[in-house]
């Protein structure tokens, strides 16, 4: 079970108060696929950080399940260690067989000999591939995704998208995004964060309309295709 119970989280940015959540509640079952849409710069990463336990709300309770792993996250990789050593370390963090996870990641990431080189020599695309491979190999019960589901070149996005779709048959997803496109055909439920509350939407189109409307209210211009998007295969 994931979610928020009467949670509030406020910031002060440049002297002005910013409301991320205000007495907001949301309930997500472990294997549900839920998209939480929020305008860019309004606390998307804060919501993910609270769900991951990295940040506490000012008030209220965050519901967290033990099996939530970040999707496509490579920020925990040690730059001095090789890709292989990082994956073996991750396997120990997750209590899975390091050899098995390493073999899977080697194949899936298609990094070739670079897999045995220090991560500091990787480009951001290579790190993304390794992060995605690790996410798909780790024993997640729910994925926590921050703004994007899959990334990389077209062929890798297609492959990762297909693998993710397979994993999502029995794994949950909480996708917090400022651009809804990747959530289409993946998520079962949609919410838009508006005035610090989670507003339930009927479907994807309704969520997009509501997000657009909130963007108009806030900035005076509707949401365009302003961020490179990667359609999930």
């Amino acid at each position: 079970m994931w979610g928020f119970v009467n949670c509030s989280r406020y910031f002060r940015t440049g002297g002005a108060p910013m409301i991320v959540l205000h007495d907001a509640s949301l309930r997500v079952d472990t294997t549900e696929k839920v998209a939480v849409l929020i305008r860019a710069g309004q606390g998307k990463s804060t919501i993910i950080r609270m769900l991951a336990g990295l940040e506490m709300p000012d008030s209220g309770t965050v519901l967290r399940d033990a099996g939530g792993w970040p999707l496509g996250y490579s920020g925990g990789m040690n730059a001095e260690m090789t890709g292989e050593a990082n994956i073996r370390t991750l396997a120990k963090f997750a209590d899975v067989d390091p050899l098995e996870l390493s073999a899977f990641c080697y194949d899936f990431s298609e990094l070739g000999s670079a897999y045995h080189q220090p991560v500091k020599t990787y480009s951001s695309t290579m790190k993304g591939r390794l992060g995605m491979a690790a996410s798909l190999g780790l024993p997640a019960r729910t994925y926590l995704a921050d703004d994007r589901l899959v990334s990389g070149d077209e062929a890798f996005r297609a492959k990762a998208g297909a693998a993710l779709a397979e994993r999502l048959q029995d794994t949950g997803l909480i996708f917090v995004a400022s651009n809804p496109r990747q959530a289409k055909d993946v998520c079962d439920r949609y919410y838009v964060v508006n005035d610090g509350a989670f507003v339930a939407c009927d479907d994807y189109d309704h969520a997009c309309a509501m997000l657009d409307a909130s963007q108009v209210d806030d900035a005076g211009s509707p949401l365009d295709a302003d961020i490179p998007l990667f359609d999930l295969v």
């Binding site: 099996g67 939530g68 792993w69 920020g75 925990g76 120990k92 209590d95 024993p139 029995d170």
Partner: protein
């Protein structure tokens, strides 16, 4: 693809022994990661890590020589200095390492199995091992260069080292936990321990202190731990004040404070 059934096995229905094994594996994995990030892949940085305490010992010896101070007990000056300085260095390095736990843990805590406590434990254990390696290097250098070696009771010396390390680790963990309530507490706490170099029987022995001063300095648990270590190393020194019980009570108190601070933050 991995066997997804393993997920359930990993997270559900395991006993206490299995839980302990997982925690130990996590801490060991973090230690391995920490070693590589602190010292690099080549291992060349290992030498640099031990140069600082060696320079510390050299500077203290130089200061003794400049002010004409010699060992207050029947032992050569270098051996006297290292009998107090090595345990103290372990205390300070434990404080620094555990104090870094939050920044080290930040990119890792998004993984559901990793907590700040794991990272702090890994940093503390690694620092203790480093302290033992440092001790070996210093004793070997003292013997090879100066021909001096004393270790009256290795277990007593090790016990003093453990107490110094535990005091440093628990103090830093308490600061780390309290800083969740107020972020300034950690920096204030780190400033507060700076004078301990002069107040913990490193440059002098507790036995040579006047009673009135000892009554005050005796409240410092680090003085007791350093005296236990010195008692263990030097053949001709027997501390009249060293109390392991007092040092242990302080460690327990600091850990309780950390637990209370963590609980208060959760509420």
């Amino acid at each position: 693809m991995l066997d997804r059934g393993a997920i359930s096995k990993a997270h559900h229905g395991r006993g206490l022994a299995e839980w302990c094994r997982v925690q130990v594996d996590l801490v060991l994995a973090l230690i391995e990661r920490d070693v590589r990030s602190r010292f690099g892949e080549t291992g060349a940085g290992y030498g640099l890590a031990f140069l600082a305490p060696l320079a510390w010992i050299g500077a203290t010896y130089l200061a003794f020589w400049l002010i004409g101070r010699t060992s207050p007990v029947y032992a050569d000056t270098i051996t006297f200095i290292i009998s107090g300085l090595i345990p103290y260095a372990l205390f300070r390095y434990a404080v620094t390492a555990v104090g870094r736990a939050r920044s080290l843990a930040r990119p890792l805590m998004i993984y559901p199995t990793i907590t700040e406590g794991h990272v702090a434990a890994a940093a503390a254990v690694l620092e203790f091992v480093n302290g033992l390696v440092l001790l070996g290097i210093v004793l070997a250098l003292n013997w090879v260069v100066f021909g001096d070696f004393e270790m009256a009771d290795p277990f007593a010396f090790l016990w003093g080292m453990v107490l110094c390390w535990a005091l440093g680790a628990s103090y830093a963990y308490a600061l780390l936990s309290l800083s969740r309530i107020n972020s300034r507490i950690q920096s204030i706490g780190l400033v507060l321990i700076r004078p301990t170099f002069f107040l913990s029987a490193i440059l002098f022995t507790a036995n040579e202190l006047p009673e009135r001063i000892l009554e005050v300095l005796g409240w410092n648990p680090l003085l007791h731990a350093v005296e236990i270590a010195r008692d263990g190393m030097l053949f001709h020194y027997e501390s009249r004040v060293a109390s392991a019980g007092y040092a242990l009570a302080c460690v327990a108190g600091l850990l309780l404070l950390a637990v209370a601070a963590n609980a208060a933050r959760r509420d």
